[in-house]
Amino acid sequence: MERLVFLLSTGLARGAVLALFALSLVIVYRAARAVNFAQAAMAVVPVYVALAVTSAGGSFWLGLAVALAVGALLGAVVERGLLRLVPQETPLPGIIVAVGLVMVLQAGLAMVFGPDHRPVHAPFSQRPFDVGGVSVLSPYDLFVLVVAAVVMGGLALLFSRTSLGLRLRAAAFAPETSRLLGVRVPRMVTLGWMLSSATAALAALLLVPTGLGLDPHAADVLFVNAFAAAVVGGLDSPVGALVAGLAVGVLVTLVTGYASAAAAPLAVLVLLTAVLLVRPHGLFATREARTA
């Protein structure tokens, strides 16, 4: 029982990171109607920069702020300088360019920073609290949950309560109509990429202290699991990303804890297949959202 409580609570914290990353994929999908297959490599770049800032004497918090800024900037550069130039009629050219970008970024990081794992220390203890003899979340897990909740709440407010959010949603749902109504759609697409990349950078930054450390491939598994979560959630549903992200996080942690880490990807694949068999558009997608 103690083990189950510990795994469930840890799974929620891992799931929060997954949900953030899945949300980043949903944001860019809504803005550009494209899955960003370069998201993992793009998310690791700001983490390297943050680590450099922290190593150079800056605080963790300064590194965090720099990571968000670099993430947003990278999103804008990739969209404006690369993917906007790719033919948009079919998704394939964008996917090929994104895969190429992954290779360039990961090879570039390995050349500049080396291919080895670099240990990253968490800003808070990772020793779990002991509640009545049961190990539950660590202070760092709590920090992750709070940050994820704050960011998701902030994004929800941005999208639902501000004029910028309204323009972002309008441009995502019907770009041509939005343009006729005075919405600067290309600017909204760029902003979507910036928000997405900054969110993904944050997720990667929160992830690395709990894993083996930082290397150019540090977010690859995160991407695979988050992509599965985003698809399970419906690919264009922020609520779906949140729910499915938490569910996949708990699933992976439970399977890793009770079976083995090697079985976790299989479990995610089974979940993905099962959901798509029952609801081909995902759990929270509306049908027209995928054809708009």
């Binding site: 004029s163 910028l164 309204l166 309008a170 109509t177 005075g182 919405v183 959202a289």
Partner: protein, 251 residues
């Protein structure tokens, strides 16, 4: 051919002169000209393919014009959607173009969202929704509404910017008699407020009801212009619609 309204002092709200638009080898508009004065309602009618929607698109800068010009308030029409909004031009779309997943209120707020939304913006949106009988469904997703209400949402979205030139693309299409009556009252109220209204419409009774003047297009050319009564009696109009010279039609 240019037809001119007689109600304007100073430049007309909309002035289309010598407008020619070609698509490849096809001449969609050929030397089309007309004006719409402040407070005036002008209907653009004609058989399918006459070029009515192309006129709208040319006014909105959506098609490249080969010759001629479009002036709004005496100035060349701005080429961008934001420029047109700033110049007081608003339009509805033939396919409504509603955001089905946004609420009615959000749909109406989109044209105002270029700046930070203030209480004044919200008040304007609620005011126009109430005026069109949509106050009770402000929080409903537009996609969930029946067609007549969706058309009113599209109209509300065009009116919320308080336009000085309103372009309505088939506003009565698909509506029943009661909804058309309400639409006619709305259009008259808008025009009485000083707004110039240009509408494309097939519904003859509606056009007769609301239009001060009617411009008839056929095969891209203006073939008649005048009051609804004058146009109805015009032999060229009858020929364009029925495909035979006037006088040869027998019941």
């Amino acid at each position: 051919m240019t037809t001119t309204g007689s109600t304007a002092d100073g430049p007309p709200r909309l002035e289309v002169a010598g407008l020619t638009v070609t698509f490849g080898g096809l001449t969609a508009l050929d030397d089309v000209g007309f004006t719409v004065a402040d407070g005036e309602t002008v209907a653009l009618i004609g058989p399918n393919g006459a070029g009515k929607t192309t006129v709208f698109n040319a006014v909105c800068g959506l098609v490249r014009t080969r010759r001629g010009e479009v002036r709004v308030g005496g100035e060349p029409a701005p080429p961008s959607a934001t420029g047109l909004l700033r110049a007081g031009v608003s339009r509805t779309l033939q396919g409504l173009g509603l955001f089905d997943r946004l609420t009615v209120l959000e749909n109406v707020l989109v044209p105002l969202s270029g700046t930070r939304l203030t209480g004044d913006h919200l008040a304007a949106a609620h005011e126009v929704l109430a005026a069109l009988g949509l106050g009770a469904v402000a929080a409903v997703r537009a996609g969930a509404l029946p067609y007549p209400e969706r058309k009113r949402v599209a109209l509300a979205r065009a009116l919320v910017t308080r336009p000085r030139l309103l372009l309505l693309d088939e506003p009565a299409g698909g509506l029943g008699a009661a909804d058309i009556d309400q639409l006619a009252r709305t259009v008259r109220t808008v025009a009485d407020g000083g707004c110039a209204v240009l509408l494309v419409e097939h519904h003859v009774d509606f056009v007769t009801d609301v239009a001060d003047r009617v411009v008839v297009l056929d095969l891209g050319r203006v073939i008649a212009c005048g009051t609804p009564g004058e146009v109805r009696r015009d032999p060229a109009v009858e020929e364009a619609y029925l495909g035979v010279p006037a006088g040869e039609v027998r019941p």
